[in-house]
Amino acid sequence: MAEADSSSEELYDEGNWVFYKYRVDWNDVVPVPQDDGPYPIVAIAYSEKFRDIYDYFRAILKSCEKSERALQLTKDALDLNPANYTVWQYRREILKHLNKDLIPELQYVKEMIEENPKNYQVWHHRRVIVEWLQDPSYELNLTETILSQDAKNYHAWQHRQWVIRTFKLFNNELEYVEQLLDDDIRNNSAWNQRYFVINNTTGFTKEVIDRELEFTLNKIKKVTNNESAWNYLRGVLLHHTGGISQDPAVKKMCEELYLSGNRSPFLLAFLVDMCEEKIERADGDMNDSLQHAVQLCDVLANEYDTIRKEYWNYVARSLSQRMNSSEDEATGSMKTE
């Protein structure tokens, strides 16, 4: 059993590596060289070992051999190229065919993930094995290990979201997110996960919105240039009946920041959108709001956010024109009345 689960790499350590073509237990198999056609195009300088292993992999693929030794061979092939989805797919077919115990497979794919944390195929293999086992008990730990090395690893988050959603493991996720935000308040993946948890559990009820606003406003006060927190604020306010311009706590924070001299482009951008919403809602003097918004766009374009000059000029033009056309409509309708 131990032998069956170790790769042949362990049986033949680097110095003693024996090519498949010299292995007695493989001498019934005729290796199949890669058919690139007559001309070398993007021809990779394969090592002799790589060529040997893949010649035998092509042979078993051709003969549809689904055996223990074929399973070993896929491991050797994946060691040399963990991005070969054909080998992974065929490995899964062999696992199924042999009705293999999947617990050792979990251990194997964990090692592969640790060595290749940014590879699509290893994570997909993990997901399929967990689906087959219907056992998510190792997944939160695994993803936490990977995220402890790179807190923004997209694949790890995607796997974690799938596990949490599929097996309803939302229970401690908000605490985990908070811990990550304590480590790095700018970790946008953690902010996104916060939204994911709430969206899939309580939803954004009035109470949740108030709680989240308080949480987010405190984080913004701490680091006013943190785009992640500003984006999350907008995310929460998507669910607010008052939009982005009506919540008293949000309004108060923005006013205080602005009056204290803060000119974070995210604050100014938010103020622009508040003005726009007030215009749309016909809340207050529309001309004042427009003027204020256009002024803000102007300082953003020319002073605080010059890299986005084109964008801010566009926003200002777009706002003014919408306002003009709605005034035209208003005067037009007055005339017809």
Partner: protein, 406 residues
């Protein structure tokens, strides 16, 4: 100082400020800015002697690419399941550089791509591998870039359509390969090849637009799958796929625009892939390439507000980042300073450079040496504009296969 270049004295004020709250994100960001600033400073001195600087190292890049077209070192073993990608990245880069291939070589490359086509339809990562949507997209783009009748006819369109059916999920999403992962790359790759080769049918993409829209996040960009974080590569896939469906209006364009303009880095000038991540040359295309699509959408919605001179990002700043920070002096381009060159980054930095240089109606905006100008691209497919239009025209004459799900 050369025309069209930002004042590097003036942009020092754009350096990251950590507000006395250093975290891993801010520390990494400041390190990258440090390395970028060194290159900007060096450039400021150089431009005093060479008024045409910065210069695109055309000859070096072309030599690196042409060598790679036939021979790749052992380090590329990890891309052995992406060989149509290697062809596409190289051919597209050469096309952007206006480098032509002799017809004999065009034929050899087309034949090799034919070896990657699966008997079941679609293309695989290499000869004898299983078909997969990503190399299918790469192979079709590469063959269209080659642009000969021989190259076009390599594609078995009926089987390609059958392959697309085989990876379609009931919700209208696409698996990357039978038994493989589902994410937004799948639907973009499927739509791009279906439109380009004229095998699109409404039934094949029934409900796909709704699935794509379910990937738009509260930040405004698109994620790989519903619930995940907005990301440059996936955002391009989402917007381009909706454009290919003619259903851009189903997503929130305003929040998409807000998200994507904010991905351009205020100091470096290049794009990051996600909020609070680092600049990377490849996002010059994945983010930059979305702007021509946005321009078209916004022009339909709000024609008088949209600029008729420029895209909605800072085209000069992006060109500066690519030309000053992403060129390897021996040819090839990179993610960011200190990173090694590779073909992927060469392709997508050049594609982004082309977008930053060209506005609609042939209006060009070239930073540095006038010879830096690249060929224009078709932004939905990221194939040269001329090659894309030729391919569309060629396949339009052929009947649309009418295969059904099996």
């Amino acid at each position: 100082m050369a025309a069209n270049v930002r004042s590097f004295e003036a942009i020092k004020k754009e350096r990251f400020k950590d507000e006395n709250c250093p975290t891993p994100t801010s520390e990494e960001q400041m390190k990258v800015e440090e390395s970028v600033e060194q290159l900007f400073d060096l450039f400021s001195k150089m431009v005093e002697i060479d008024l045409d600087a910065p210069t695109l190292l055309r000859i070096h890049h072309a030599a690196f690419l042409k060598k790679s077209l036939t021979y790749l070192p052992n380090a590329y073993q990890c891309l052995d399941a992406s060989r149509p990608w290697l062809c596409y990245w190289i051919l597209h880069s050469l096309e952007l550089l206006d480098e032509t291939l002799v017809s004999e070589d065009i034929s050899k490359i087309a034949q090799f791509l034919g070896k990657c086509q699966s008997p079941e339809g679609g293309f695989a990562g290499g000869p004898g591998q299983f078909p997969h949507l990503a190399p299918t997209y790469a192979a079709v783009n590469a063959l269209c870039t080659l642009g000969t009748e021989e190259a076009y006819n390599i594609i078995d369109r009926e089987k390609l359509q059958k392959f697309l059916w085989s990876v379609r999920s009931p919700e209208g999403a696409f698996q990357m390969h039978p038994g493989g992962e589902v994410d937004i790359r799948g639907v973009y790759c499927a739509l791009a090849v279906a439109r380009l080769t004229n095998i699109y049918t409404d039934a094949l993409f029934d409900n796909s637009a709704n699935w794509i829209v379910s990937c738009q996040t509260y930040e405004g960009g698109f994620s790989g799958s519903p619930g995940m974080e907005a990301h440059g590569g996936y955002a391009f896939c989402g917007l381009a796929a909706l454009s290919l469906l003619g259903k851009e209006q189903l997503c929130d364009i305003k929040s998409f625009l807000r998200w994507i303009v904010n991905r351009q880095m205020r100091f470096e000038g290049g794009f990051q892939g996600r909020t609070n991540k680092l600049v990377d040359g490849c996002y010059s295309f994945w983010q930059g390439g979305a702007f021509p699509l946005l321009h078209r959408i916004l022009t339909q919605q709000d024609p008088s507000a949209v600029s008729m001179e420029r895209w909605l990002f800072h085209q000069e700043a992006l060109q500066e980042y690519i030309l000053i920070c992403c060129q390897n002096s021996s040819g090839g381009l990179v993610d960011k300073p200190t990173k090694p060159r590779d073909i992927y980054h060469t392709c997508y930095t050049l594609s982004g450079l082309s977008v930053a240089q060209h506005f609609v109606h042939g209006k060009a905006n070239i930073v540095g040496n006038p010879n830096n100008e690249l060929a224009p691209i078709h932004p939905v497919y990221n194939v040269g504009l001329e090659a894309a239009l030729n391919a569309l025209q060629y396949f339009q004459q052929l009947p649309v296969p009418q295969t059904q799900p099996s």
